[in-house]
């Protein structure tokens, strides 16, 4: 009885949505509004209006800034949920059981628990890590000029963190990312959107509104840079946390 009620309710809600979908212009229709109005404007005036030389970023962070805000919030909520599961269950036990212990080389070798890192690898990774960091920062900051941006740069930054954890040992790296700090960093992307959104209110009266005046081009650019940094740092923090939460120690 209850199930039937739920089902019929769902059908009733679905009908208007289906009608709306049927009313949408067919995919690839050259007369669709998206092709006749918006694209042309994005392409012709995007650079001028949005303040980003990279059109994709302009559309993503300026014209559809609100959409992207929703997107990052959804992504980061989902990841936070995944993290919550990982953290409360005491970590996922990956590979621990089906992995045979390393075959002993000598008698005393088997007593010594983990194999130390090769000094060569340790050295080279430590040497490369700052360069990887600079590179990640470059990708994040230049997102509005060249392809790349917060998500990509964040992934590189996360990779740097992960390789340092692998090589230096989790014990040395974990204290650098204490729980409260990690929590705030994870939220960096939505938080930066909120901050910039509020700034938009101050400038234009609209949430996430970008000041349209030509003279404020630099301000627009700066706002986007802050958003990119937020996305990048947040992404990196999420990657790092997931890696640290995976596989119990």
């Amino acid at each position: 009885m209850k199930n039937a009620a739920v089902a019929s309710l769902l059908v009733i809600f679905a009908i208007p949505l289906l009608i709306a979908v049927a009313e949408l212009p067919p995919f690839g229709d050259p007369d669709a509004p998206i092709h006749t109005h918006i694209s042309a404007r994005y392409i012709e005036q995007g650079v001028e209006e949005a303040g980003a030389e990279n059109l994709v970023t302009g559309v993503l962070l300026n014209y559809r800034g609100f959409d992207t805000f929703g997107e990052v919030t959804v992504i980061f909520t989902a990841l936070a949920a995944a993290l919550a599961v990982l953290l409360t269950s005491g970590g996922v036990q990956y590979f621990q059981e089906d992995r045979p212990p390393a075959p002993p080389k000598g008698a005393d070798e088997s007593e010594r628990p983990p194999t130390p890192v090769s000094p060569v690898v340790l050295f080279v990774v430590r040497l490369l890590a700052p360069f990887i960091g600079i590179f990640a920062a470059f990708v994040i900051l230049h997102g509005h000029v060249t392809p790349g941006g917060g998500f990509q740069g964040g992934a590189i930054l996360g990779a740097m963190f992960i390789v340092l954890t692998i090589v230096l040992g989790a014990g040395k790296v974990r204290p650098r990312l204490p729980e409260p700090l990690a929590r705030w960093l994870q939220g960096a992307a939505p938080l930066s959107f909120v901050l910039i959104g509020a700034l938009g209110v101050a400038f234009t009266g609209f949430y996430l509104g970008f000041p349209p005046e030509h003279s404020l081009h630099l301000v627009r650019e700066l706002m986007m840079v802050v958003l990119e940094i937020g996305i990048g740092v947040g992404g990196a923090a999420i990657f790092a946390r997931i890696f640290l939460a995976m596989e119990a120690d």
């Binding site: 390393a102 075959p103 194999t115 090769s118 060569v120 690898v121 490369l128």
Partner: protein, 106 residues
């Protein structure tokens, strides 16, 4: 009459040919050699040199530009990371007890 461009192109072709030859040798070595350790020999040495000389050729062809410096940086990265990866792999193999191929084993 030998032009400046002709000289550059000749250098590029020679360097690329050099690099391509070593890439080919590395590939054949990877397929042909009998065990992991000797394959690592072929892979690290030939690939480092091949990648280095091709990237150098690209930088020469490109001339004096920021992107040429980037290509040299790429070559330096390969020069640093390739032997290190080779060593890391050999060490992992050694520590997990992989024995090396010997002549008298046959």
């Amino acid at each position: 009459m030998i032009s400046y461009e002709g000289i550059i192109n000749a250098i590029v072709v020679v360097l690329v040919g050099f690099g391509a030859f070593f890439f080919l040798v590395g590939t054949i070595g990877l397929v042909r050699l009998p065990d992991f350790y000797s394959r690592t020999h072929a892979a690290t040495k030939c690939d480092t040199l091949g990648a280095g000389s091709i990237l150098l050729a690209l930088a020469v062809f490109n001339g004096l530009e920021p992107s040429s410096v980037k290509m040299i940086a790429l070559a330096a990265l390969v020069l640093l990371s390739s032997p290190t990866s080779g060593h890391a792999l050999a060490r992992a193999a050694h520590r997990t007890g992989l024995d090396y191929w010997r002549l008298d084993k046959e």
